[in-house]
């Protein structure tokens, strides 16, 4: 395998590791369900897609590498849908926001409906 693609792939894997670690740190440190969801979903989706793209660069255009590209498309399509469903379900189940939050548009919309 070409060495330039190996080095580029390892660089992408390193970037993805950084984003994964920062996302999980935000999952532990932030004060609220919605803040944790925001940080973790964005960072971990970008980090995992970066790791998969680096794996594609290392493996080359073989069957496994093309399956990595397929997996990138799948993760990008499904992770925001799952995050939106969890946030909507949590808000409808009555989980409160952090006490320093300034605005809650979804509660205002639900008051308008009722």
């Amino acid at each position: 395998m070409n060495s330039v693609f190996d080095m580029a792939g390892f660089g992408f894997i390193l970037l993805g590791l950084f984003f994964d670690l920062v996302g999980c740190l935000g999952l532990v440190r932030l004060p609220d369900v919605y803040n944790r969801l925001q940080a973790a979903t964005k960072c971990v989706t970008l980090g995992t897609c970066s790791i998969l793209f680096g794996t594609f660069l290392v493996l080359g255009p073989t069957a496994a590498g093309l399956k990595c590209l397929l997996c990138i498309v799948f993760v990008i399509l499904t992770a925001p849908v799952a995050a939106h469903a969890i946030a909507r379900g949590g808000h409808r189940a009555g989980i409160r926001l952090w006490e320093k939050s300034v605005v809650d548009r979804y509660a205002e919309d639900k008051e308008g409906e009722a």
């Binding site: 190996d6 390892f10 894997i13 390193l14 993805g16 590791l17 994964d20 670690l21 996302g23 999980c24 740190l25 999952l27 532990v28 369900v33 944790r36 969801l37 973790a40 979903t41 971990v44 989706t45 980090g47 995992t48 790791i51 998969l52 794996t55 290392v58 493996l59 073989t62 069957a63 496994a64 399956k67 990595c68 397929l70 997996c71 799948f74 993760v75 499904t78 992770a79 849908v81 799952a82 995050a83 469903a85 969890i86 909507r88 379900g89 949590g90 409808r92 189940a93 989980i95």
Partner: protein, 121 residues
């Protein structure tokens, strides 16, 4: 007290990362250069997974646990990709695709259960 606990947590996380990066270990070298890097990448992903499992264990509400389970599922996909690079076996990526599918469906079902409605509504 809060500052002290924050400081202890920061020291533990930074110490674990430094231990992972700077430890000298015997890695198998049957695939050439970059093997030590890939094995350290696996260790860092295991550290991130442990942080996720902390939130699963100590989450105050049910939504915290569901979020952490979903994030853990996405982490395992990257873990499978790195393991596939490390061992040279390509079927780990199939495991990653299947795990992503199951994690997505599980998160949707658990969020509908949290919302308190039937599935066909």
């Amino acid at each position: 007290m809060k500052t002290l606990s924050w400081l202890i947590g920061a020291v533990v996380v930074v110490g674990l990362i430094a231990l992972i990066i700077f430890v000298e270990d015997e890695f198998p070298s049957y695939l050439g250069a970059g093997k030590g890097f890939v094995y350290r990448a696996i260790y860092i992903l295991i550290l991130a997974s442990v942080l996720c499992l902390f939130r699963v264990a100590f989450g105050p509400t049910a939504a915290d646990r569901i979020v952490a389970t979903d994030i853990f599922g996405i982490l395992v996909v990257g873990f499978c990709a790195v393991v596939s690079v490390a061992t040279g076996r390509s079927w780990y990526i199939d495991v990653g695709i299947a795990w992503a599918l199951q994690s997505f469906i599980g998160a949707l079902a658990l969020s509908k259960y949290l919302e308190g409605k039937a599935f066909d509504e």
